[in-house]
């Protein structure tokens, strides 16, 4: 994969060389100051070494001008680093809209991956190069962290919620995946590989993978199996809100708050349904904590996400106006 004694990591994603550039900038600034100060200290220590026992130093107390200089210059440099780093960070935080989605769930001590097409893998992740890949991360138990050094990306998997990361691989190859958040005995065994492939190789791999239906199909099956459908009907006669078109809308809660329906709201509404009840509905939904695994949960969410509001909806204007019963 690499030489046996690398000193610098491979750069295989669209952001990697930008991260490296910031690294070299800070490295240059740091080296300059480290060498400057060290050299000054050693030079002074030799040049002004004590010549006889009761010699004392010159009576110098300080200099406001110097203090200002060495306050302002580091400050300005630090601000450059801040803005540069923040810019990169914001890019890392915002997956582009055209990203393909992959679900990854951390579990002591493995990474379980689901592609939307239904192919699953463990501790490996196959992705096409030159396409934006958005990963939705969940955790079954404790904190984990999905880390791909060659892509310079990393994100915690936090139990109780979903998190997001994205990358665009630029070079075909096999790269390491590490769990970077300590998670117990086999933490150092929670590793794997990303296999970045040319687009057509990826398609071939997908086609050859065993699948038990796409994520949406699995979600739909679960939706029926778990009897979600008995309350969340396609018309408003159900005891729970209609879910079509709910994703991305804003719903009003019983206590007057308004929330945007996103992945984490859907997740919470399945695992801890009493937490945020939509206005006009009773808190009667049971919790699915312990019944639904994080993987199933991601399938359910994939299913709910793609449910579109009926095209002929009489409500003019926004697809799901505030106040209209929405998610649960």
């Amino acid at each position: 994969m690499q030489s046996s004694f690398p000193l610098f990591p491979e750069a295989a994603s669209s952001i990697a060389s930008d991260v490296d550039l910031l690294y070299f900038f800070i490295l240059a600034v740091s080296s300059f100051f480290a060498i400057l100060v060290s050299a000054a200290v050693v030079y002074f220590a030799i040049k002004y070494r004590r010549r006889h026992a009761d010699e004392v130093g010159h009576d110098i107390h300080g200099s406001i001008a110097l203090e200002l200089i060495w306050t302002v210059i580091p400050f300005v440099l630090a601000m450059v680093m801040f803005f540069w780093g923040a810019d990169l960070y914001f890019r890392l935080a915002r997956p582009p809209a055209d990203s393909m989605e992959v679900f990854v769930v951390g579990k002591q001590w493995m990474w379980k991956v689901q592609h939307p097409e239904g192919v699953r893998e463990i501790n490996e992740l196959h992705v096409p190069i030159n396409r934006n890949v958005r990963i939705t991360l969940g955790s079954e138990d404790v904190l984990h962290d999905y880390y791909i050094p060659a892509f310079r990306v990393k994100m915690d998997a936090v139990p109780g919620k979903l998190t997001t990361m994205w990358f665009k691989a630029t070079k075909a190859g096999t790269y390491r995946i590490f769990c970077a958040e300590y998670c117990g005995t086999q933490h150092s065994g929670m590793i794997g590989h990303v296999i970045a492939m040319e687009e057509h190789d990826y398609e071939a791999w997908l086609a050859g993978g065993r699948t038990t239906g796409t994520a949406v199909e699995n979600g739909e099956r679960l939706f029926t199996q778990l009897a979600c459908i008995t309350c969340h009907k396609t018309d408003t006669s159900g005891r729970g809100p209609v879910l079509a078109g709910v994703f991305g809308s804003t719903v009003q809660l019983m206590d007057g708050r308004k929330v945007v329906v996103d992945e984490n709201y859907l997740r919470e509404s399945i695992m801890n349904p009493q937490a945020k009840i939509v206005l006009g509905y009773q808190p009667i939904m049971p919790t699915f904590q312990g019944t639904v695994s994080e993987e199933n949960l991601l399938q359910l969410i994939a299913y709910i996400k793609q449910l579109k509001a009926p095209a002929a909806a009489p409500a003019a204007g926004a697809p799901a106006a505030a106040g209209q019963p929405g998610g649960k």
């Binding site: 935080a93 997956p95 991360l137 919620k161 979903l162 998190t163 997001t164 929330v259 996103d262």
Partner: protein, 98 residues
Amino acid sequence: MSHISSKGLYYTIFGTLIAMTVVTVAIARIDLGALNTPVALAIAAFKATLVILFFMGVKYNTPLTKVVAASGFLWLIILFGITMGDYLTRAWIGFPGR
């Protein structure tokens, strides 16, 4: 420190504290909407201030003691403010976990 407050002052403070307790219980029975919690907290803060200033004698104490007493509350605000700053801005970007 060497300041000795009159008994009358202590009784007055005591009376106010009891009165404010009655007020806070009574007000809790009225729905003030969004103001429920702020009003309850304002009354509690008022009561606490009375205790700190008079029963604990900060009003008659050195500036240093005043600064020390205030610093505790300042640091609480730092802890609460910055932590809640995180939680309140979490949904802004629109990507879960960011």
